[in-house]
Symmetry: D2
Subunit: 352 residues, 4 copies
């Protein structure tokens, strides 16, 4: 039905989407571990995939914003997908991969989408073009052309903080294209999310809505959303999956309780350091060797990351998933040494 209502007369061929194919659940936009040479640490990446799958994650979402796709080279981005796609299929597992796909121009993006199709990915997530401001007419044209030339299903990724917006009307005009199967929205604008679902659902019921705003996963599912891409699910997959499943089952009170419980953890990882350093710290807490990020941090930032890592460990420990850090989590008594350090810093500043 969805395919047939797209009436522009283009040669839409084989595909007839059904509700059974619908993308739904929690997809983890995971980070990429780096080794001592600052290259991709494939062993650790495979271990990370196993850990997520074993803890019940619905799907993987490599090369997202959290996965720092802009800081990898083109060939590294392809390698990440090769490794993840391969590892998710190990031992007969069937875990869908939603692969971040954005390259320098539309031809390269089409090539990438088709390469990911051959690797067996479920879909590619594509942001609107960034850096250059663009009219909605051009945004629409971009996705339309991309969808028509790709052999892989496409999930639009709306993140207007970083890129051109994909406006509600643009989503509505694109939602009936058989290759465009959903939208991931990270805009924080929940009214917009509700309104978009309201406008799209009558046109194409199996169109997927994934929320990228971690603080409101539960209400988004309650209002009919299909899940989310939740970076926190890399750090506490057990907790996020439980919360999501409770919400799906209509056990609202229990789901909401967990949603509130994870707010502090989300806050410290999201805003405690330059994004996505907080999530790198979180993965370290879960025992992964993530290496050093490619965007170098100032001395102050590095100090800060040490501090929030401790905080994250305390929070994850509360869920019983790791041990508390050495020295414990009682924040009341800050030691004399810390006070001295800060005092020195103040006096140094006065000297300047």
């Amino acid at each position: 039905m969805a395919g047939s209502c797209y009436t522009r007369g283009l040669p839409y061929l084989e595909k007839e989407a059904t509700m059974a194919d619908k993308i739904q659940g929690i997809f983890c936009p995971h980070m990429v571990p780096l080794d001592a040479a600052n290259a991709i640490d494939e062993t650790e990446l495979r271990r990370l995939v196993d850990y997520l799958v074993e803890h019940g994650i619905t799907g993987l979402y490599p090369n997202g914003s959290t996965g720092e796709f802009t800081r990898l080279t083109e060939s590294e981005r392809r390698r990440v997908i090769e490794v993840v796609a391969d590892q998710t299929r190990r031992a007969g597992r069937s875990v869908p991969v939603l692969a971040g796909a954005y390259e320098a121009n539309i031809d390269m993006t089409v090539d990438t989408m088709n390469y990911y199709a051959d690797l067996g990915c479920r879909a590619g997530a594509v942001i609107a073009p960034y850096y250059y401001p663009m009219s909605q007419d051009s945004v629409r044209t971009y996705f339309e052309e991309l969808a028509e030339r790709s052999r892989l299903d496409l999930v639009m990724y709306n993140i207007p903080q970083f890129t051109n917006e994909i406006a509600v009307d643009t989503v509505v005009s694109l939602c009936q294209h058989p290759r465009i199967v959903g939208i991931k929205d990270s805009s924080r604008d929940f009214p917009r999310y509700i309104v978009t679902m309201h406008k799209v659902r009558p046109l194409r019921p199996e169109f997927t809505f994934l929320i990228g705003c971690e603080e409101i996963l539960v209400p988004s599912v309650i209002m009919g959303g299909d899940g989310g891409t939740i970076a926190t699910s890399g750090v506490v997959p057990e907790v996020i999956m439980k919360m999501y499943n409770l919400a799906r089952e209509g056990r609202i009170e229990e789901a909401s309780k967990i949603q509130y419980q994870v707010l502090d953890l989300i806050a410290v990882m999201l805003t405690g350091a330059d994004f996505p350093e907080g999530f790198r710290a979180g993965m370290t807490v879960r025992g992964f060797n993530m290496g050093r990020g490619r965007q170098h941090q100032s001395a102050a930032s590095q100090l800060n990351i040490e501090s929030i890592t401790r905080t994250i460990q305390c929070m994850v420990a509360e869920h019983g998933l790791v041990s508390p850090p050495a020295g414990g989590c009682d924040l009341a008594n800050v030691d004399e040494q810390t006070v001295q350090q800060i005092v020195s810093r103040v006096i140094a500043q006065l000297d300047r």
Copy 2:
């Protein structure tokens, strides 16, 4: 308990807030009907109050943004509250009034708050200062001083689109003041709303959270919010109260269904014309003589308002609350005359 945890040693006297006193439900931020001389039409205002009370609205919220407080004089603002407070008490009714209270400076605002206290209002809603940008430290100081000098409970009103923001940390630092009993948030930022509840509730359980974003009333109530100030409740009070009550009772599916049903009506009233002209049109549809607004409209705007009034009437008619407009609501066949008008306009533009 809440009162006692405010430890700044000030002479907080009589008041010991309890959960029973808590402000909750739907407060209608209604408009003020104007007569032929562009003065307040008190007869129509009283009729409007009766209509809202009889249709089950929880409370009235005069002098809000929808009530165009900036376009009334100081004495007119006082008169609006006098009339509304008097009319809500008629015939033994007990309908709480949350009165918008913002004057040119803090002394005048204190006087106004105290005047509204004498009129029997439940609380005053106060925005952060506007026009001049201000630090959060100053915003906090402003509310603190206002609360200490007023004899009326205070609900903070966060609307950063129009005024200085009241940041989450500022809310947290003010929430334990016995006179500050709640916040109304119209920021559209639902993650912020969730996070603020999470931080405030452990400090003061009876602190009220009212949402001002009409598209997400249902999810806000599901997540533990206390209601909202919903301008659409002036136009379809029957529908909004039903939706709210279903959400409170945990009948999520039914509540959500209505939430989705009213989205189009909200959209046309909120964005179909310069705010709040769409709501004035809506009240006209319900049979009120609202008069002409004080912010004059261009010829094009007036034409547009006629058009959206028809649309609103069609939407309200779908709920069975009014008759459809003469000529019906089938938008399919636009008449020949309209086409001619538009063609003329195009040619005129080319001539220029």
Copy 3:
């Protein structure tokens, strides 16, 4: 010519603007001194007017943003203009008054404009409506109606940081109205200023362009602007008038040198405290009793204002206009007590 090219057929009667009438020069958007009871201190206000006139200011601009018009009552705003208009005419002086005129609705604004006309003001400066977002069509309608009903020339005041913007095209469509004689632009957007002059000048050569951005007065005059409304001219009128006159005479190098010299003073007054507290501090340095502002300041803000007052005094002293503060202006040696205070504050924060 300008009047004649306004072809809408309205009964534009007496007025035929000429280049001789053109508003130009430096208008001081001065503050209003308050007495111990927080009322207008008329004696000090008259003394302030005399001081500005005697130091060669071109004109006065009472009830501007710096004059805190939103924090005065309607009758206070009228009183300020009465006093200023009277005092500028004392002893046969002829100093034009550009009176800030914004009231709650268009009828009251018209009344106010006409009242200021009777008081002999040269023109009224009117901002676009604020608080409510508004289409450009409505902004245009607002000014058009206001201009048609007022007996006083109107200068539009563009300050999009605080109010609705007056877009370039709106200025162009309004610039030929005989009552609308100029624009004051405080948007900081210099390319916009240049482009607007380019579009308006061929339509109406005597239309006035005043810049409200103090850092770029000199380049704006060099590029053909007519002067500015410069709050710093309240604190150092001698310096600003000299700079302006040099720029008018084409003595670019000397003018630019002064422009650079005053940048630090502008910065500390504009951003050193919540606007316009820095300018209040500046007037205090020049010996005026300004009283306490109506927007109450936190303890931290008050401490800060004391500190920037000292800095301002040092800067004004460098121009030889006042004595340096007791203790001198050598900032190198911060005393032990200050260090102790800051250390205590840090420890207090850790305790929290």
Copy 4:
């Protein structure tokens, strides 16, 4: 002197900048012609370089925003610089190249900078990291590390519309690094430009300030700026160089007159289509085969580009640099066919 005041004790060796080395003048941020296969058309690119050099441009600025660096691959970006560097040196010419240099991470950017150093470029222009929001501390760290590891002088490029801002204080803290020799500012914020010059000049007189905002080149030079990166200089190099030289010589009136004359041309190229399509149209008018951009345009956009190309040709023809388009530049009589087209479009829209 500049080198010596950088006191962090690092082994800054060979380099001792002097005023003679200072980068100044007009650098053209030119586009890259593409051939029928959408690959770089090197022949046309060399012809474009010759044309700019022969028309007196000070320097070339390949791989800027106008040069669409995000839409080229890493190897294509290198190839562009190879070709431009080679062609600027042909026949003994000495035209400095300021090469846009931004790669996926800091290691790759360092490699690129060093590669461009070997090619003989004068400096590399580097934007602050984009896509991810970043603290100023991190922005500073990024440039500092980059400067310390590169063998090529670095010009910071501030364009907060597209990337993280480089705040004034960050510029001040970086300006004494011997490798960081200037800033190009495209923020449109002229007060900021003035303030930054005021703060940096006493610390390092030979630090270069290039403006990227085309509407205010003349006032920026008058106030002491060193030139600009002006995309319009690709389309009318004769006009921009004349304007710049007049401004440098203090012939303010003549320079300003040209500045005003080019405003309409700038406007249509900058905002008449999605950036940088207007400049591609402009280069076509000057006789270059630019090919089709890699960001595909909708049918409506393509129609629009045809229309603005005609407008640009008329504007450039007014300067006597090209012939007017066939059919002439009299826009008064729009033909009947166009009216019919628009009428059809209106009716089609009504049908929907």
